[in-house]
Amino acid sequence: MTRRLTGNPVVPGAAEGVALVAAEPLSFWGGLNTATGEIVDRRHELSGRIVTGRVFVLPRGKGSSTASACLLESIRAGTAPAAIITSRIDPVLALGAIVADELYGRSVPIVVLPEEAFRSIQDGDRLTVEPDGAVTVDSPDGA
């Protein structure tokens, strides 16, 4: 089944990938190993999972103001998610993506979806993010 969701392109860009969905917020600093892309917050539900190349769907970031630096470094190192979808604007994550674009001319699109649309995305859905903030969701058969 294919659906189309409309979001706010906080950091506009195009990307596609398989959804990695977190129910809980995550701090990218202390929560993400930028060399490997692994979620290393051992209290987090996704501890041990790899964000690289996935469309990372999380309610918002939290905690450290170093999270933007970690997103920037993961973009430089090639371990970043393909895109990030949140349910509210996360200024710290937006910053990491904007600085990456200024410094390296490449970035990670960030889209904010309304709560209901945000919650409709399931782990494993194939997502396409467009520069205008549209998100196309392909759910695997039987989902």
Partner: protein, 425 residues
């Protein structure tokens, strides 16, 4: 809505204040647009968090800005850095790491930042005044500045902090505005004995509990003592900003925008009310530990956020007392590191405190953070700390098991070589 810019903003954007300022303003403008702000506003001082993490991208960004001639436009302090600039060799930090860290430090000082190198800038130089609009990074410092000092800042993530310092401008939104500083939920402490709140483990444990409870809402706390110390509030803010996104809390009768409950709530009703009981605090303290009681201990870490003068004095009293207890032997059996700023350390030196700690086996490191400088080796398996923030991040950042306890628990455990707490908090 499009972002409105002043003539000065436009001039800076167009390169009229140099290439470095132009890059900083371009990032500030794009970021303000991403955040949905409608204009920029002036800030009077800045505190830079972006100087703390050492990464190739972070160094490249700092050197790019500095290389293009960017200078800070407002008084700007520096957070802890990735290196003890004086003693790094004593802590086994590799040369190549140190060389990179020194380049990063030079880039920030070249831009005119004041080399405070502390994550507790509110206990050092240039403490902001009540009501002042500032741009601070470092989550614990942001929570403290807003809550305890009543200065006004959002959490300025790396590298918006240096862009704010160079441009003197930030998006006009969030906690800079009175309406957004209104308390939204009420947390009532119920059934606590005053002695519970006198235990220094209460504050980080309570902060740890508060973070997820508050989410992104401003919490108002009723029941904290009016004579809460700066260090207790520091521990509370640091833990709440780690387990959650708390950037402002009000404590009725304690913090400056909360003389009364009604003032903290700006005359409105709280969206939700929670009663916190001693059993909740015990659960929060347990949740901060991943190591078992009695586990063999490798390292004690204190000074997250950076140790204050008062904390030096308290630790000196504790280790002196341990020296008088035959069972403890008067020496730490494990590595014991205290992390602080040159400013607090200078005061402690004048009071003759560091040698008391050194005799017990404590090593003091300046300017840095155990999470940002490679001073904790792979042989370290179990760490004990009195910090909720350190306990929260240590398992992920250091790959260790962690035990949380009061400073007294840390000293006792160090002397015994194993995790040994009394029931807490």
């Amino acid at each position: 809505m499009p972002l409105r810019l002043s003539d000065t903003d436009r001039k800076m954007l167009g390169g009229g204040h140099g290439e470095g300022a132009s890059l900083a303003m371009r990032i500030m403008v794009r970021w303000a647009q991403a955040c949905g702000a409608d204009e920029l506003m002036d800030v009077a001082q800045a505190h830079i968090d972006g100087c703390g993490l050492l990464s190739e991208a972070g160094l490249e960004f700092a050197e790019t800005l500095a290389g293009r001639g960017a200078k800070v436009a407002i008084p700007t302090t520096l957070n802890m850095g990735p290196l003890d600039l004086r003693n790094w060799r004593d802590f086994g930090v590799p040369e190549d790491f140190a060389a990179m860290a020194i380049r990063q430090a030079e880039a920030y000082t070249r831009m005119g930042c004041i080399p405070t190198w502390t994550c507790a800038p509110y206990q050092g130089y240039l403490t902001p005044r009540f009501g002042r609009q500032i741009a601070w990074g470092e989550s614990n410092a942001v929570a403290y500045a807003n809550s305890v000092l009543g200065a006004r800042t959002n959490m300025y993530g790396d590298y918006s902090d240096i862009c704010a310092a160079v441009t003197g401008r930030v998006p006009r939104q969030g906690l800079h505005l009175t309406r957004n500083r209104k308390g939204q939920i009420l947390i009532r402490l119920a059934g606590f004995d005053p002695a519970d709140l006198g235990d220094d483990a209460f504050w980080p444990a309570f902060g740890h509990l508060l973070g997820p409870l508050a989410g992104d809402r401003v919490p108002v706390i009723e029941g904290l003592p009016a004579d809460a110390t700066d260090d207790q509030l520091k521990a509370l803010c640091a833990a709440a900003a780690s387990s959650g996104a708390v950037a402002l809390l009000h404590a009725v009768g304690v913090t400056p925008e909360a003389a009364t409950l009604s003032e903290a709530l700006q005359g409105e009703e709280p969206a939700e009310t929670f009663d916190i009981r001693p059993a909740d605090l015990e659960a929060a303290a347990r949740d901060l530990s991943t190591a078992e009681e009695g586990a063999p201990l490798d390292l004690v870490l204190a000074g997250c956020p950076h140790f204050s003068f008062a904390e030096f004095r308290k630790l000196a009293d504790l280790v002196r007392a341990a020296g008088h207890t035959a069972r403890m032997g008067g020496k730490s059996r494990v590595a014991f590191i205290v992390i602080t700023s040159t400013q607090s350390h200078a005061l402690a030196l004048r009071a003759g405190l560091p040698h008391v700690l050194t005799d017990f086996g404590v090593r003091i490191t300046l300017d840095t953070c155990m999470f940002h400088t490679p001073m904790v080796g792979p042989d370290t398996k179990v760490v004990m700390t009195n910090s909720g923030k350190c306990a929260y991040y240590a398992p992920g950042e250091l790959g260790v098991k962690v035990a949380f306890g009061s400073l007294a628990d840390c000293v006792r455990s160090a002397a015994l070589g194993r995790v040994c707490r009394r029931a807490h908090p």
